[in-house]
Symmetry: C3
Subunit: 290 residues, 3 copies
């Protein structure tokens, strides 16, 4: 299949080439694909990924079509494969998909147009990983030897799983932090206070607090104090260390209100970079490199 489904099968060199092209776009490179149309098919809520892909298309002169799940034939039981093949038959040049199902794209063999994975289940979110890498590269000029802590609900996070695999491959040391029940085999466990002291990147993750509150028997304030990013912890961060978060953030749960836009935070910069990595990925797909 063409496009970008997962970074797991993409060699290091290719990842570096994507980031490099994204940086070129950020520095003003202009590429256009007049007359092309792409569609965003989101089977799960999204603001950033959906509109970031649309912005990337617009910047490349591609017309985005926004598939509206409500009001579509999905409610007549049409399968994902048939929906994607329909857009292909209509003449669409690429499809961005987010879906609740892990590795949904295994059902899409036979589709001829590029597919861009906007997140699958709890498994992967390759353009999020790329924008995180771009943000890290801009900050440190390298990946090798950097320490990153994934903090929060690791086990349910496609970002944690997607990032960890690639970051390790690029020579980063990956830790995980947060409540016991969110741990999985993604990385070595580290206490949050040690993480802020030792790690170059604190990669916060969204915690679906309401879903877990009862089992954890803990208030929001206690969660923030115990596992979250407080101004006090920010003050104890390693020299040069940065805070990232895929957003949307839960202010007052995994991150204190005053930390969201503090000097160490790269949260809005990540969003800006997301447009450029998506421009890079689309460009490489439309020129046969992905």
């Amino acid at each position: 299949m063409k496009g970008l489904l997962t970074l797991k099968t993409i060699p290091k060199d290719m990842i570096n080439e994507i980031i490099s092209l994204a940086l070129d776009f950020k520095n003003g490179l202009k590429v256009t694909f007049p007359g092309k149309k792409m569609v965003t098919l989101f089977y799960e809520n999204s603001t950033r990924t959906q509109y970031s892909f649309q912005m990337a298309m617009l910047n490349l002169g591609i017309t985005p079509m926004s598939f509206n799940l409500a009001g579509s034939s999905v409610y007549k039981g049409e399968t994902l494969y048939d929906t994607v093949r329909t857009f292909e038959a209509l003449g669409v040049d690429g499809v961005v998909i987010r879906h609740t199902q892990d590795v949904y794209y295994k059902d899409l063999e036979g589709v001829g147009i590029p597919i861009f994975n906007g997140g699958d289940g709890t498994s992967d979110h390759p353009t999020q990983t790329l924008l995180d890498l771009m943000t890290i590269y801009e900050e440190f000029g390298r990946y090798e030897g950097l320490k990153v802590a994934m903090v929060g609900d690791i086990s349910h996070s496609r970002v944690a799983h997607g990032n960890a695999e690639v970051m390790k491959r690029l020579g980063m040391k990956v830790y995980v932090s947060g409540p016991e029940q969110f741990k999985d085999t993604t990385g070595e466990y580290i206490e949050i206070d040690e993480a802020v002291r030792e790690c170059d990147v604190i990669n916060l993750l969204r915690v679906q607090f309401e879903r877990h509150q009862e089992a954890m028997n803990i208030t929001k304030e206690e969660y923030l104090e115990k596992y979250g990013m407080t101004p006090e912890r920010v003050s104890r961060m390693k020299k040069g260390g940065i805070i990232m978060h895929p957003a949307p953030v839960n202010r007052g749960i995994e991150i204190h209100n005053d930390v969201v836009e503090c000097e160490r935070s790269r949260i809005y910069k990540q969003m800006t970079n997301g447009v450029f990595v998506r421009m890079a990925v689309i460009t490489m797909a439309l020129t046969g490199k992905l």
Copy 2:
């Protein structure tokens, strides 16, 4: 009213002119209407018709605006007439409408911009009929003398009703097939096994199986075996015969999974042709011919 509401009042010559223009578009004809805007107003679920009209607009340099029913003043009780007149007042150059109500457009007298019917109740779906005709014409080079079987839920199908009227007028012999309770006066009844042997076109229709299962007292497998298109029936089709379906298909009910993209199937070709007939219809409306 301008635009295309039903084919019942459109003479044969005009239908041939639309198909001919659609074929020209398929062969590369370029026509643009810079600065024009059109809106798609869908009061019923649709993937193909809605996005096919949007693709047709984009191919003609027209900006599609997608009216989102949820989030609109329709939920404040605004009538269809007032909604359409609003878009006219805003400067929109045409409106595509799908509505649950038969002949909804009789309430739209006084609207000055072209209206394109994207399906009304169980009555009509003129651009679907046109794309079916285009697909048949590409296959056989004529309509006269061809035999078509409409198979499935005839009585609730706007496609069956819309297609039958025009196909008869163009000299085709129209049969209907499927369960007894779906029969109406659309055409002469024919058993499915005779249909595949005798007919040039097997025009399958979507069956809302869940709605009828209890009354029919039948499983999906039994339905497929008794009334549906199986690989075995495909193997007994008339020489040169083709399978059409307006989609979305119900895999394993009216059509076997392996038949959807088999050599005889024109299902995805129909979708591709749909963009071209809609380009033709819009072009003729904007140049005063419809």
Copy 3:
């Protein structure tokens, strides 16, 4: 903050400048902002305001992105501030917002891109006020000395509140009319029959009849007869007087069916003018004047 949040802080001269530019656009002035993108964020149902802003953008060569509340991270609890900042980080050049909360924009300090208020709670709807003023100015060539009656549910109407403040400032005499329980301090009370005899502008307001019917103990027919605009009242209107309504109208409640498009009605003209005032407001914001 940049953009247009309320007219309360906008001096008379600036209001006149906006109307003047809107009239220029109506007379054919062309201005384009190539490459710009704006997003419409509607947290409340809207047809006119939402699509009118989109038409205004298209007329200015700006690409509108339609934020679909359903399917967004708003359902993950993302705040309005974070949603708007996200679009800013993505590179969007302006945001149109409608929100149920009065003065929602007080939470948006720190946003760097222009914000256009498409209606906040029951408080304000500045572009509606501007299009009403433009319609009045086109009709009478002045504001000074004109009498306007706001008729209907004054207390819940952002249009009544927004219009009254500016109209008084421009030298108009503002009355209110309608059922006792809808009165507030917006203007001096006037009986509907006196209003049609004395006022230059009958500014009808939408009545959410179902919500109030029980308390009022009244049928639709009685409401129309007692407080609404009937053909009989139209026949007794002041010479040169006009009827306005922000729409959607409730045919048969605050306005008789035959009055909606009668000779005195400017209801569809208001919608047409709305596109031009929004073009003016966007243009002034993008050139640093708002």
